[in-house]
Each structure stands twice: as structure tokens, then as C-alpha cells.
């Protein structure tokens, strides 16, 4: 693919990706608002009933309902923080990030599409910081595409886990110094006769993103494993 075509593909697909993520997150926020709304309504109902029956509102009932509202406020706060981090990801073309944080953000944004296939996402192990100078928005896009592929390839109802480490070799000193990182997604593959087979990975868009990020990927569909090795964009 010619470089100008690759850039155009990344830009156009990037707008779609941005829209998709915002739609997913706002759907989730609408659910949170709906729960807050029903619990607020429930508190009003209890108060009206207590007034009608000329008795006091039971403190335990009020506290239980208020706790349900608090849980949703906390949930909304996390969702909005993630959305804000995502919205700022295109701010700078290349930026030094912690790869573990970026992958965790991608997984948090993809929680709802995962839930749609009854998949749970889990970080296999928490690494120390894995510094990487990269293009955060493009990296999030690549991770999203990788997760989407894994969601299609995974058996419904199973668990998908990710692991981040420093360096394609798993932490060799020279890779660590260079700040290169490795992301490994693993899942339980769906049966061969599964209804919807995923599109091949990497496709044209993923190849363009990998080239822009100076990354490589290795896919083992039978084992349910996708490795993305990412190189530091500050190193020429």
C-alpha cells in the first residue's frame, strides 16, 4: 500500500473508530442514568407512600436506595474518566505513555462490546510501567481492532485476557532500554463451526496501523493468541 493511501485509510477509519467508541460509551452512560433515575424515583415513591400512610420513611430503605445511586455515580465517574482520556488521545501525535495503561484503557472502552458476546476481559498479570513513545490514538485503534477480532474468534461466554510486557522478547535489557513493548491477547477459540468467523487479521487497516506504529503482529488462531509487538517511535 502506498504511504499516502495508508495515511488516508488510517484517518478515515480513525473517525469511524472515534464515533464507535463514543456511541458505545454513551450507551453505557444512558444505562447508568436510567438506574439513577429509577432509584431516585423509588425514593420519591417511598416518600409519597410514607406521607399518604402518615408514617416515617424507613431509614434502611432510604439508605439502600441511596447506596444504589452512589454505586452508579462511581461507575459513571470511571466511564467519564476513560472517555476523557480517550478523547485526549489524539492531542499529540507521538507521546510517551505507559503501555499497560493504554491497553487497560482499550479494554475498559471495549467492556460493552465484550459483554454483548458474554465475554469477560481480564488482565492476566499487572506489569510494572512499560514506557513507550507511541501514537496513542493509533495504538488504541489497533488494540480495539485486535480486541474486536478476538471477540469474534472467542467462544461466547468465555474469558479473554491480556498481558503487557517490556520488549518483544519479554524483557531483554536492550528492548527495555528502547522502551519497546509487547501485548498478548489470549482467548478460548470458538468451535470451528461458529456462526460468524472474524475477518482475517491483520487486514489492510491493521497493516497500515502496524506500519505507522512500527509494530508487528503474530496470530495463532488455533491457540487463541494474538501478539502485538510495538516499537518506540522516538528511536530512529
Amino acid at each position: 500500500m502506498k504511504p499516502e493511501h495508508a495515511e488516508c485509510l488510517i484517518q478515515n477509519a480513525g473517525i469511524n473508530f472515534f464515533g464507535t467508541v463514543v456511541a458505545v460509551i454513551t450507551h453505557e452512560l444512558k444505562n447508568v442514568l436510567a438506574i439513577i433515575n429509577e432509584n431516585k424515583g423509588l425514593l420519591e415513591d417511598f416518600a409519597h407512600l410514607a406521607r399518604q400512610e402518615e408514617r416515617e420513611l424507613e431509614p434502611d430503605t432510604a439508605l439502600t436506595t441511596a447506596a444504589a445511586i452512589s454505586r452508579q455515580v462511581e461507575r459513571a465517574d470511571i466511564i467519564v474518566k476513560n472517555l476523557n482520556r480517550f478523547a485526549h488521545s489524539p492531542d499529540r501525535e507521538v507521546k510517551s505513555v505507559d503501555l499497560g495503561e493504554i491497553v487497560a484503557l482499550a479494554a475498559a472502552l471495549a467492556r460493552r462490546p465484550a459483554a454483548a458476546r458474554a465475554l469477560t476481559l481480564r488482565e492476566a498479570e499487572k506489569p510494572g510501567p512499560v514506557p513507550l513513545a507511541t501514537a496513542p490514538f493509533m495504538l488504541l485503534h489497533l488494540l480495539w481492532r485486535g480486541l474486536e477480532f478476538a471477540f469474534q474468534a472467542a467462544a461466547a461466554g468465555s474469558e479473554l485476557s491480556w498481558r503487557v510486557s517490556a520488549g518483544p522478547g519479554g524483557g531483554e535489557e536492550q528492548d527495555r532500554e528502547r522502551g519497546a513493548g509487547l501485548v498478548v491477547l489470549t482467548w478460548q477459540p470458538a468451535d470451528a463451526g461458529a456462526e460468524s468467523l472474524p475477518a482475517p487479521f491483520p487486514g489492510g487497516l491493521e497493516e497500515a496501523l502496524l506500519a505507522a506504529l512500527r509494530g508487528d503482529c503474530r496470530l495463532d488462531p488455533a491457540a487463541g493468541r494474538l501478539e502485538l509487538s510495538l516499537h518506540d517511535l522516538s528511536v530512529v
Binding site: T26, H27, E28, K30, N31, L33, A34, I35, I36, N37, E38, N39, G41, L42, D45, L49, T65, A68, R71, Q72, A115, A116, R117, A118, A156, G157
Partner: protein
């Protein structure tokens, strides 16, 4: 009127079910399509109030399966979508459901829709 309420958000269905029950309606709730189908096989419902987007079985898919169990069942969908114009009542997008309400749903608005369905059912029964 007996209502089957289905949404994968447990805190939403439990609170909404309690509010409808306080208003004299008989409500059972489920947090998955599979659980809703089980309930529908055990008991006859007049109305299913269903979230459009749920894991494993979508709202529209669930509607089709529930119709096989009970062809007289009425449907109202709830959606977290931002735009009402996308889901017009009774269109293909809503699988022909009578109404599609956007979350968060105002209880009085929902009760109004339920009254409309009750009225329609009553009209059908008249000779």
C-alpha cells in the same frame, strides 16, 4: 396486567419492577434472554418490556422467541440509543414492537404507553 421486564442491568430492572409493582402492576423480571424465556414458558404475560441491547440474545431476537411462546404478547422496547428517530414505534428497527422508549424512561410516560396497550387489548375483545 402481568409484565415481563428484561434488562441485563440488574439494578435497573429490580428498581423499575418495584416502582411498577407499587403502582399495582404484576411484574416479574429477568436479566437475560434465556431467563426471560424460562419465565415466559412458566407463566402467561400480557406485556414484555425489553432492553434492545443485551448479551447473547438481543431484544429483537428475544421478541421473536417470546412471540412463538405467546403470540398475543405485546412489546415495549427500551433503548440506550441517543436518538428517538432511529427507533420509530412499530418499524423494522424495533421488530414491530408497539413502542420504543429511550432510557432513562420516565415512569409516567411508560404508564401512559401501558394504558394505551391495555385499551387496545380491550378494544380487540369487544364484539
Amino acid at each position: 396486567m402481568r409484565i415481563l421486564l428484561v434488562d441485563d442491568e440488574e439494578e435497573l430492572v429490580s428498581a423499575l419492577a418495584e416502582r411498577l409493582t407499587l403502582r399495582g402492576l404484576a411484574v416479574d423480571w429477568a436479566t437475560s434472554g434465556a431467563a426471560a424465556l424460562e419465565l415466559a414458558r412458566e407463566r402467561k404475560y400480557d406485556l414484555a418490556l425489553i432492553d434492545m441491547k443485551m448479551p447473547k440474545i438481543s431484544g429483537i431476537e428475544l421478541k421473536r422467541k417470546l412471540e412463538v411462546i405467546n403470540p398475543e404478547l405485546e412489546f415495549i422496547f427500551m433503548s440506550g440509543h441517543g436518538s428517538a428517530s432511529v427507533f420509530e414505534d412499530g418499524t423494522d428497527e424495533t421488530g414491530g414492537a408497539s413502542f420504543c422508549l429511550l432510557k432513562p424512561v420516565e415512569i409516567e410516560f411508560l404508564l401512559g404507553k401501558i394504558r394505551t396497550l391495555r385499551q387496545r387489548a380491550g378494544d380487540k375483545e369487544k364484539p
